[in-house]
Amino acid sequence: MKYNNEHFEEVITPNVDKAGCETLDFYLKNENGYKALEKALKMKPAEVVDEVKKSNLRGRGGAGFPTGMKWSFMPANPVDANGNPKPKYLVCNADEGEPGTFKDRLIFTKTPHRMIEGMIIAGHAIASNKGFIYIRGEWFLEARLMQKAIDDAYKAGYLGKNILGSGFDYDLVIYKGAGAYICGEETALLNSLEGKRGEPRLKPPFPAQVGAYGMPSCVNNVETFAAVPYIIDKGWEKYAKMGTERSGGTRLLGVSGHVNKPGVYELPMNLSLLEVIEVAGGVKGGKLKAVIPGGASAPMLTAAECGVLTDYDSLAKAGTMAGSGGVIVMNDTVNIVEATYTLLKFYEHESCGQCSQCREGSHWLARMFKRILDGGGTQDDLDYIAKICGNMAGQTICAFADAVTGPALSSVRKFRAEFDEMILKGGLKGVGREESISHKMVGAHV
């Protein structure tokens, strides 16, 4: 009842503040650990898929695609050209790198077994015997913690041959990236997992047909897998009821920026963004100015728009997206042109460079914002920004180009007066601000 949602309870994070919560022992004793796996292994794969479908679980990586449906796209008995059966792979996307997003890191360090259990259940559901966990390269500690959890699960018989006497075999292998934001895109991730450049693939074929190593594959986010044990254990109805009509369960929101208590909060989706900010201790250092509700790629909202609910559909209706749950809060000391440039130079650096619209577009956008900051901008630039964005979104192999236009377009549209002032008064100096040192050093980024 705490959040005016009688069905709400914490699905993933009830115990993340307790000592030892990351251990197998704790998971078994206090969190009904691996009981859902036991139950799932007695169900038929199709029944597990059905349960997840009915729960309205949607992908927590950013796109919000219904998970059960994604699983059902996996072919039942794939064979190669000679009629021999092909293996199927399950892949966990732990390449968390969307600016403002840090929820998966919490799962990795505090409740890794929940994710492992979710993956084994998913493996059973799509009849796969092998899963890969693709972890961003910077997570040295996190990868080792996950490997320890996997080792413990093997020793206890939850991974390996004939799990819990069911006849089902399952292996989990960790793979590490090497510092590329684009590898969070699922087909770029698959290329990277094959030891190649992390460049997104043209679709079709979709990963369910041709995925990792040419085999049918299914890629899901860390949080998505971590929700699965609850759904199987408590039943789809309980999970679905917590959410809205079209998206079940809870969401992990990482609230950061100008708030008093930044952190990951597991919340029901019937809260407004303003309420979420209150949960995170309220705005610090000034009045609320703007919020990016779903990681850097989500178009920003003005303070006046923050009454919007945080479920997928409400945010989409408000012209933005739920994305990866990274809520970035900015107070009124922030200059939007500067803040947006911070994001655009990130995109400029991270574009994989395959498609010219994105490679050139992200570069041009960053340069134009910089020119405005430096005092060389004109009113025509603002129209030109919109034009460049129009030539990027929807024109490329993956959604990266669309993501770049999120902050670029929304900032100009919603905070036009700030751009006008900066252009009129001759850049940052003209409006009495100093240039950010991190904006000066173009090329110093790695």
Partner: protein, 174 residues
């Protein structure tokens, strides 16, 4: 020449992956870790060891930012300057470290001990501002705590100790 240790690590995980090329990222991680960068020579060794054309190796080393194509300082100070860290004073940290080390971001000190870089989002936005020193995360930084860390690193590196690899067992691959 690849060290026996690296060869053993890679041979140890070979059966986990369906292709030889999949071993390229792990192999380059180990080379980076052992040598501090990935030289042209190492790329040839990697290509030979995995029986891949050299071009496949260079495609990969030129794509990922964690593979350094020139020697780095023993202590790689990587400060996140993306949005949440930027909102919480990452700029101050960059100037502070830059002043302390006497180099700009993107540079290495003349004695080869420190490299200062700005990095993109480390997924530690809730504990911003954040940075990495070699493999270790440091979060909720202030100028004071940053200076203390840098002093500690300096004395450790002068004493010949390994810096910023506190979660390590052996090698990189978990």
């Amino acid at each position: 020449m690849l060290s026996e240790k690296i060869k053993n690590t890679i041979n140890g995980i070979r059966s986990q992956f369906p292709t030889e090329q999949a071993l390229l990222l792990p192999l380059l991680h180990e080379i980076q870790n052992e040598q501090g960068w990935v030289s042209r020579e190492s790329m040839k060794d990697a290509a030979e060891f995995l029986n891949l054309p050299l071009s496949k190796v260079r495609e990969v080393t030129s794509f990922y930012t964690m593979y350094k194509l020139e020697p780095q300082g023993k202590v790689d100070v990587q400060i996140c300057t993306n949005i949440s860290c930027w909102l919480n004073g990452a700029d101050k940290l960059v100037s502070c470290a830059s002043k302390k080390l006497g180099i700009h971001a993107g540079e290495t000190t003349a004695d080869g001990k420190f490299t200062l870089s700005q990095v993109e989002c480390l997924a530690a936005c809730g504990t911003a501002p954040a940075m990495m020193i070699n493999e270790d995360y440091h979060e909720n930084l202030t100028e004071d705590s940053l200076l203390k860390l840098l002093d500690q690193c300096k004395s450790d590196v002068n004493a010949g100790k390994t810096v910023g690899k506190s979660s390590r067992k052996d090698g990189v691959w978990p």
